[in-house]
Amino acid sequence: MSLRVGLVCPYAWDVPGGVKSHVADLAVTLREHGHHVNVLAPVEEDEALPEWVTDGGRPVAVPYNGSVARLSFGVKATRRVRAWVREGNFDIVHIHEPLAPSLSVLTCWAARGPLVATWHSSQDRSRVLTAGYYVAQTAMEKLRGSIAVSEEARRTLVGHVGGDAVLIPNGVRVQDFAPDTHDRQRRRRELLFLGRIEEPRKGLSVLVDALPAILEQIPDLKVIVAGPGDSDDVRKDIPAHVQRALTFVGTVSDERKQELLQEVQVYVAPHTGGESFGIVLVEAMAAGACVVASDIPAFRTVLEDGRAGRLFSAKDPASLAEAVLSVLDDDASRRALVAQGHKRADQYDWDSVVDDVLAVYESVRVDGEKVTEDLRGQALGRFAARTNFIRGRRGGDG
């Protein structure tokens, strides 16, 4: 049966990010499975927007959950959300990161019916609730079913907000990353770092601190740093030979990221925490790079406790250096890790993940049920209904 699915992404569509890629991949896979999909997301430039994405308004940069997020909110955004819900005629609306102060929480308020949510990040209790307990509760109560992408994200929900969720890990479009087999032999002896340069929890400084020890063994090793941010901050205060080893390539497109992951021997993920899943690790494994990552819980899970990639103690440069050297020096063990990594990545392929998501959709709705605009139960809603009614009588479009 073909479903009409509305997906809500709280973060800007034009800015690369974990949640955004998740929503885009889910949308594409659902479409491949024959469902009608429309995505509501904040949009900076509405040129070159796929026809299945609806512009939820211009995003504003706001500090949120430890980094700067580009969100849409306010009266205009609310109006767009309501129009989208009204006109979408959806069987299911699937809200991502439902408490994000953006289109997500607005949709929780504006819609009723079969609503499903996916929880992506693990957050501190303080961030989740102290400010908006009432808002959070009222929004959550309307979600018929919740999905968590990781055990950590699920714990945030169960422990801090109260509620239950089923665990469905992130999907990766494995075939997009898979390299041509003959290329695998010709990988460059390089390290790759992906992520925002100045964001401490991405851990670039741990990698930089580890470089002197690594370069001592392999002096001509190159390290590619791909991600937005000011490289001068990193360059100052480090020795000249370490500087020479680093290549900053700035922000990269999704395609370039795939190429980089297919070209280098080792992908390093020195994150210090706050990650709830680590989709980029799966992408690296799918692309055939050897993964060296910090032993934070999310990464341990993805790397099967070190069977699908090498783990080191988080925040420890010496441990990172040892791990990197061990995989670069030993071709056999690196190949074994890459091979296991490839198998592991297949388990996260969207094609299998999407079946679980569809099972959730089917288990929360009754045949023929639709998502509708929520005007009942709340005085403000009734007021909005009346103004719409008046505007409607005057021939306005609401």
Binding site: E141, K142, D164, V360, S363, R365, D374, R376, G377, Q378
Partner: protein, 183 residues
């Protein structure tokens, strides 16, 4: 006259009324969510028992297993009629789960899969068992959220829930048979 006292009282009473009205709206929505979740669980359980019955009558199972599954599926279907208490139904559905679990071991599943049409039946049964699990989980989550709100003092004092009976979680064994879990 301190007329502004009157203003303060009116505003406070107004805000309190607004709060009560919004809370009543929340409760109403939660009760509705429980109703639809129950309908959905009901539909998934019916689907599961009818696929189980189909499997039992397909001739693909060994005769003994077929009888066990057919009887349990039939009992579950009969219990789905309005006259049966929720508790008896949960028992019948749990019995079906156990019957499926006992009958469908790895070898049996492999054999059924190999037969023409067998693979589809197994897939469908696995899918419906998974959906039963999801539906019940989501229903019980709705029940939990609703009970939590109904326990609040204001909700009790002002009887915002009206005469709606207290929601009860559904307890039954809905585990997916191990041999089906991978499919």
């Amino acid at each position: 006259m301190s007329w502004w006292w009157l203003v303060v009282v009116v505003v406070v009473v107004g805000l309190f009324g607004l709060y009560l009205s919004m809370t009543a709206g929340r409760l109403d929505a939660l009760h509705k969510r429980i109703d639809t979740s129950e309908l959905s669980l009901d539909a998934q359980l019916l689907r599961r028992s009818s696929i189980a019955l189909e499997l039992a009558t397909s001739g693909l199972l060994d005769p003994a297993g077929a009888i066990v599954v057919a009887e349990a599926a039939h009992a579950a279907r009969t219990a789905a009629d309005g006259d049966t208490s929720a508790l008896d139904r949960a028992e019948a559905e749990s019995a079906l789960t156990q019957a499926l679990d006992a009958t469908l071991d790895d070898e049996e599943v492999e054999e059924v899969r190999a037969a023409p049409g067998g693979a589809e039946l197994i897939e469908e049964l696995a899918a419906s068992a998974q959906r039963v699990q999801l539906s019940r989980r989501f229903l019980n989550d709705a029940v939990r959220a609703c009970s939590q709100l109904r326990r609040q003092r204001m909700v009790r004092w002002f009887r915002l829930a009206g005469h709606t009976p207290w929601p009860t979680p559904v307890e039954l064994d809905d585990s997916v048979p191990a041999a089906l879990a991978g499919s």
